[in-house]
């Protein structure tokens, strides 16, 4: 409860929210790497089986595991994480290395705007590809 009031009292600024989201999406992406490398590694190994029919069957078995509805929902969230981390990361580069540091408020707003638009577009595209 106290934490909730502290949060409500906190004067949120776009830059601070971007910093927190950069961390959270970064953790998510690092954790994603682990299953991603394992699953795609199994798929590559399956594709390399000598027996063609066996290779196709083994590939399809793993592919079926990662193309269900639930996984696609997770993939859409993953796309959101990637887009935010990439767009905000490029903003950090501009702020760290160029004189645009004086325009940081504007850049942060632009980063959020660009993220929301690109995420919406990508999410619709992914959903239509899977369910459309």
């Amino acid at each position: 409860m106290r934490i909730l009031f502290q949060l409500l009292d906190y004067r949120f600024e776009a830059g601070m929210v971007a910093w927190a989201m950069h961390r959270l999406t970064g953790i998510a992406l690092f954790l994603y790497l682990i299953p991603h490398v394992i699953v795609t590694g199994r798929m590559i190994a399956a594709a390399h089986l000598d027996d063609k029919a066996e290779a196709a069957a083994a590939f399809e078995r793993i592919y079926a595991l990662v193309s269900g509805d639930f996984v696609v929902v997770l993939e859409i969230l993953l796309a959101g994480c990637i887009l935010f981390h990439a767009i905000n990361g490029l903003r950090v580069l501009l702020v760290d290395f160029t004189s645009l540091v004086r325009r940081d408020r504007l850049l942060t707003g632009l980063a959020f705007g660009l993220w929301i638009i690109s995420f919406a577009a990508v999410a619709v595209m992914m959903a239509l590809t899977h369910w459309g």
Binding site: I34, T40, A47, F59, L93
Partner: protein
């Protein structure tokens, strides 16, 4: 009495500015490499095979240029991720032993991903 820290106490350890810079360089590289990776995996070219299929995987991971590309991608991503996790843990963990243990765990995971990924790209 508590020791008053002076500038030289901090300068005994590396400032980490090289890690800071490398995090930005790898991030910049990853923005473009990841874009290319997503393009490769989702866009079907001409009358070629589906990007994620047995034929496409066999072709992709026997092309030396692609193998080099994926090794660069793998190591850049793993280092950038593990270094970022180290930075985050550094901010929140203050007990030296616990902090050391967690950071070692992050780099152990990183090593595991790097080895598994390398075997997948060049070991088949």
């Amino acid at each position: 009495m508590r020791k008053i820290l002076t500038t030289s106490d901090y300068q005994q350890r590396s400032s980490g500015s090289l890690r800071w810079f490398a995090q930005r360089v790898t991030g910049f590289i990853l923005a473009f490499v990841l874009l290319f990776h997503l393009f490769l995996m989702h866009v079907k070219l001409g009358d070629g095979p589906k990007p994620v299929s047995v034929e496409a995987l066999l072709e992709r991971f026997s092309t030396p240029g692609m193998q080099v590309f994926y090794l660069v991608f793998l190591f850049t991503a793993v280092w950038h991720g593990a270094n970022g996790m180290t930075n985050i843990l550094d901010d929140y963990l203050h007990n030296p032993l616990f902090r050391w243990f967690k950071i070692a765990l992050v780099w152990l995971f990183a090593l595991g991903i790097a080895v598994a990924g390398t075997l997948s790209v060049v070991g088949n």
